[in-house]
């Protein structure tokens, strides 16, 4: 908890984006999470990404379930729409909202309990349906809100704060999402904004289901020696597969990379993702290799981070299901209820 009100004052030289807004304009209320919580860093990264992309807050909907992670949408974008749903049911609400209005950017914020525990069925179907959402999992491997029990993503052999060892194998949400057909799957670490912010920007611009599984240490219950989701452990075992640069449409690619290590991935709206492969063996466009690498890394106790898999050709649910482009709230009564003549015609066509 923080009891000090964050002063409204900002640095006199704070820059403004294309909308004339500063980074501070994308903030939410002050966090009530524990001091040092990885989730707060993720909130800061979301703020940074939305500011960089000059997104209008009223074109964004934040959706979440239950848990420490699901509280965090309060702490960013306080001008955006928001829905704090039932535990594990955020994907259903997101699906409904998405069917009603495709124009909004949907930011789903969930945790390892909300997603890999109670809500895993919802999560799997959302991925399978290619729901157009940026699905952020703030993954700390523990139930922080109920005092530190192991969650379903906690690694086998990892120890709780009280010394108990986890005997069950973890669920790898990234590998699962790839196998279920998600078009954009990344993994990152709350303590590495250089990697996280461009990854978030790319995910927000991706049309279809994009998952970012973010290891986010729980300072209170899962940041001790013996934990595999502590700041120290992740820093030691982090193996980044790619370095990412998100280039919006119309902007020149400026970063210089070593020849031969670059993959440019065009996104739906013409923006370009520039990927620098940090490992020769890795190819984020190769689904099989991605899953295989994740399995190997897990065996070796490594945490693979970066953009793990991308399929730029994937179709999102709206395209697959051929849903109307116009948000439902923009239809007139006449269009929504066209009268008995139309009904008769429809019925006749079914004969």
């Amino acid at each position: 908890m923080t009891y000090i009100v964050k002063p409204v004052n900002h640095h006199p030289n704070l820059e403004k984006n294309a909308l004339g807004l500063t980074r501070r304009d994308y903030e939410g209320t002050i966090s009530t999470l524990c001091a040092g919580c990885g989730h707060d860093s993720i909130s800061a990264a979301v703020i940074e990404a939305c500011y960089d992309l000059s997104l209008a807050s009223d074109q964004i909907a934040k959706l979440s379930g239950i848990g420490c992670s699901s509280k965090s949408p309060s702490y960013f974008l306080n001008q955006a729409h928001g829905f704090n749903s039932v535990h594990g049911r955020m994907p259903s609400v997101a699906t409904g909202a998405n069917l009603g209005n495709q124009d909004l950017l949907y930011l789903g914020v969930s945790g390892d309990g909300d997603t890999a525990g109670i809500g895993i069925g919802q999560f799997m179907h959302a991925a399978r349906r290619q729901l157009n959402i940026t699905y952020i999992v703030e993954n700390n491997g523990t139930y922080g809100l109920t005092k530190g029990q192991f969650s379903a993503t906690n690694d086998q052999g990892s120890k709780s704060k009280y010394g108990e060892e986890n005997v069950l194998a973890p669920i790898d949400l990234a590998a699962m999402a790839i196998q279920l057909g998600a078009g954009f799957v990344g993994r990152s670490f709350s303590g590495d904004k250089d990697q996280l912010v461009p990854l978030l920007k790319a995910a927000m611009k991706f049309k279809g289901f994009s998952l970012i599984d973010i290891i986010s240490p729980c300072v209170t219950f899962n940041n001790h020696a013996g934990s595999t989701k502590s700041y120290d452990h992740i820093r030691e075992h982090n193996e980044s597969v790619s370095s990412l640069d998100f280039v919006p449409i119309g902007q020149e690619i400026k970063t210089s990379y070593k020849e031969g290590s670059i993959v440019d991935v065009p996104l739906h709206d013409g923006a370009i993702l520039t990927l620098e492969k940090l490992s020769k063996k890795y190819d984020p466009l190769d689904k099989g290799l991605a899953v295989q690498s994740l399995n190997e890394a897990e065996k070796n106790g490594k945490v693979l981070t970066g953009l793990l898999y991308i399929d730029p050709e994937v179709k999102d649910h709206a395209e697959i299901l051929n849903i109307t482009d116009t948000p439902l709230n923009q239809f007139s009564d006449q269009e929504l209820c066209p009268g008995s003549d139309k009904l008769e015609k429809v019925n006749a066509s079914l004969n």
């Binding site: 000090i4 009100v5 640095h11 030289n13 040092g36 707060d40 860093s41 904004k193 120290d232």
Partner: protein
């Protein structure tokens, strides 16, 4: 007002360029030099060449450093900040650092917000001896330095809060130090009864010295009594604070002007302190001066005569010549003596007037017109009586070297009627009473050569301070000089090395009370600077004795005190506790904190989250952290809100109050 690289010392403009940290061993904290000018515009023109020269010196030193590091190790790193150096955290407390007497400003403002006026008063009294006087008259070097000028707009009304402490304090007589029962047998003479001498007396009496004050006037106080009108500084306030020192056991010899230092040195004193001020007002010798003499008065003499009630009236039409604070006091005093038409006439443009902004405002509020760009040509007199003055209109023109000249315009001379003229065009020192053959050297501008640290002249027994040392300045400088001179006199009398200066007292205390409890008020007030209530103008103008400013009442004082950012509550960082979770970076409202790779200063300053371009403000550099990064904090616009410490899970950040007490002879 563009004062980049400029600062004012002893009424003269100086250039100062900060030296990057890695070169300080070689070049010192900053490079500075006097421009030998009182004019801002002139200083602005002159500074270019000096700044360029300083920058090339810094560049050369940097190149040298690169060479000495060898070809392969060209990259330099900013050194880890040594926070055990008292000056590091002191510099963060901008107001205290700017105050010549280094008054712990945030410390006393906090006391005011706790209604502890007596404690606030005593903190002031320790540093500057005359809180009630300074709270009304100080030149306030602290206010332009206030961090609020960078984070908000207007500085905290530091000066007027000092007055609050004096206005609402209880009886402090029991709290004041007393002379020891037995004297140490050493005798000190203080020549001139102004703030510098009184400060020396206050410090030395406590140490057991027998001090004797020689004053040419019938009362002590110096310019505080003679040059500051009582509608700005009531006599009771002045008397109270002067008496505090006289009552400590200071022997006084009033109406005793010293006319020969040579003879005086033959008397039985172990050391002599000269605090005679700058008592001679400049005259204006132009046509008609002699003939109209009866109605032409020197500004400071005029004010002195009012103070001692030697005059009580003036003509109906008065012209005041000059644009400094004395001119402002002269015109406002004239109004109160019954003048009906008072004008201030200055040679320079309005924007270059030397008077403090607020004193000009006060004069203008009393509907006194200020005519700019008018150079006096002659006094006009008829039948041996002054009837007016003639002026030439001019405009300020600058040549390539930046020298200002006032070029006459083609307009006709301006004639202004008047009954009296007050000449307030500057003050000079007056050392006719010091013989030049007694081993006391005189230098530039016929001023005694005085060591700027020890205040000792080239005659070992004679010390200088206040305006007598380097020309006209403000009371706060005199107090600062007095403290330092007292240290020197003590060391001199005890046969110690006077160049060995005592270190300041410092104390660093954590403000953490509990998990989320801090023992200072870290809420950032968004209130605008409060205005000091004033006496109704019709009433105020009726008498010289009615104080114009009424001062803040306790509730206004409380609100104004809340505006203080508590810059003395320092953000103290401990590398060993940091887990690099970024919580502080994310929460900092002004983006001061960075975790980044160290490098040369200019590179680091460009690569912080928001470039740290104010090089006057230091960067706090940590030791290298486990991820090979360094914590680098830009002190420039830190609000001292404590959110970094509040959000730190391990206590690597802590908010600690830093108390810096300038060394005194008795500490």
């Amino acid at each position: 007002m563009d004062t980049k690289y400029l600062f004012k010392r002893h009424n003269t403009y100086w250039v100062k360029v900060a030296v990057p940290k890695d070169l300080r061993k070689e070049l010192g904290f900053d490079l500075r030099t006097s421009l030998h000018t009182h004019e801002l515009s002139e200083a602005q023109k002159l500074r270019e060449a000096v700044v360029a020269d300083f920058k090339s010196q810094i560049f050369a030193a940097k190149e040298n450093l690169k060479d000495s590091n060898g070809k392969n190790s060209i990259k330099t790193f900013m050194p880890v900040t040594d926070t055990s150096d008292p000056q590091y955290y002191h510099k963060v407390v901008d107001c205290q650092y700017a105050c010549p007497a280094h008054t712990p400003v945030p410390e006393y403002i906090r006391k005011i917000s706790q209604n502890k006026y007596t404690e606030a008063y005593m903190i002031n009294w320790e540093s500057n001896v005359f809180p009630g006087i300074l709270g009304r008259t100080c030149d306030r070097p602290c206010e332009p330095a206030c961090r609020r000028t960078r984070t908000h707009e207007k500085p905290v009304a530091i000066c007027r809060l000092k007055r609050v402490a004096a206005d609402f304090k209880d009886d402090v007589s029991d709290l004041l130090p007393k002379a020891p029962e037995k004297s140490n047998g050493k005798k000190i003479a203080l020549i001139g009864g102004g703030p510098a001498s009184l400060t020396v007396a206050r410090d030395l009496i406590v140490m057991g010295y027998e001090c004797t004050l020689f004053e040419k006037d019938p009362q002590a106080g110096g310019l505080m009594r003679t040059n500051i009108p009582s509608f700005r500084l009531p006599v009771e306030v002045l008397d109270a604070e002067v008496d505090q020192i006289l009552n400590m056991g200071l022997k006084t010899k009033f109406n005793s002007e010293i006319t020969s230092l040579k003879d005086f040195l033959k008397e039985d004193f172990d050391a002599v302190f000269v605090g005679t001020g700058a008592p001679k007002g400049k005259d204006l010798n132009i046509e008609g001066r002699k003939e109209a003499e009866a109605n032409i008065h020197i500004g400071i003499d005029f004010l002195t005569s009012i103070a001692f009630e030697h005059i009580d009236s003036i003509g109906k039409k008065v012209i005041v010549l000059g644009g400094g604070n004395t001119a402002m006091d002269c015109c406002r005093s004239s109004l109160r003596l019954g003048a009906e038409d008072v004008k201030v006439v200055v040679r320079s443009p309005f924007s270059q007037m030397k008077a403090s902004e607020w004193e000009i405002e006060d004069a203008m509020e009393e509907n006194i017109p200020i005519l700019e760009n008018h150079v006096p040509k002659k006094f006009i007199h008829e039948a041996g009586r002054l009837v007016g003055m003639e002026f030439q209109k001019v405009e300020a023109v600058f040549d390539k070297k930046g020298n200002r000249s006032l070029v006459p315009t083609s307009e006709d001379p301006v004639m202004l009627e008047c009954d009296d003229v007050l000449v307030a065009i500057g003050q000079d020192n007056s050392f006719e009473w010091i013989e030049r053959d007694i081993g006391l050297e005189f230098g530039e501008w016929d001023m005694p050569v005085v060591n700027p640290t020890t205040f000792q002249s080239t005659h070992p027994k004679v010390f200088f301070g206040g305006d007598a040392a380097w020309g006209p300045e403000n009371i706060i400088w005199a107090a600062a000089h007095g403290h330092q001179a007292a240290i020197s006199i003590h060391k001199f009398c005890q046969n110690e090395d006077i160049n060995d200066r005592p270190s300041p007292g410092t104390n660093l205390v954590s403000q953490k009370m509990g998990l989320h409890e801090w023992s200072y008020d870290n809420d950032i007030s968004q209130a605008k600077r409060f205005l000091v209530p004033k006496e109704d103008q019709d009433t105020a103008l009726k008498s010289l004795k009615i104080e114009v400013e009424k001062g803040f009442d306790p509730s206004l004082a409380m609100e104004e005190a809340q505006r203080c950012l508590n810059c003395d509550v320092q953000t103290v960082f401990s590398e060993s506790l940091c887990i690099e979770c970024d919580a502080c970076v994310d929460i900092c409202p002004t983006d001061c904190i960075n975790f980044m790779f160290n490098g040369p200063e200019d590179e680091v300053r460009q690569n912080t989250r928001i470039p740290a371009l104010n090089i006057e403000q230091d960067l706090l550099i940590s030791k290298i952290l486990p991820t090979k990064r360094t914590m680098i904090k830009d002190e420039d616009v830190c609000l001292h809100c404590g959110l970094c410490a509040e959000r730190c899970p391990t206590g690597a950040w802590d908010m600690q109050t830093f108390l810096y007490e300038e060394a005194k002879v008795y500490s």
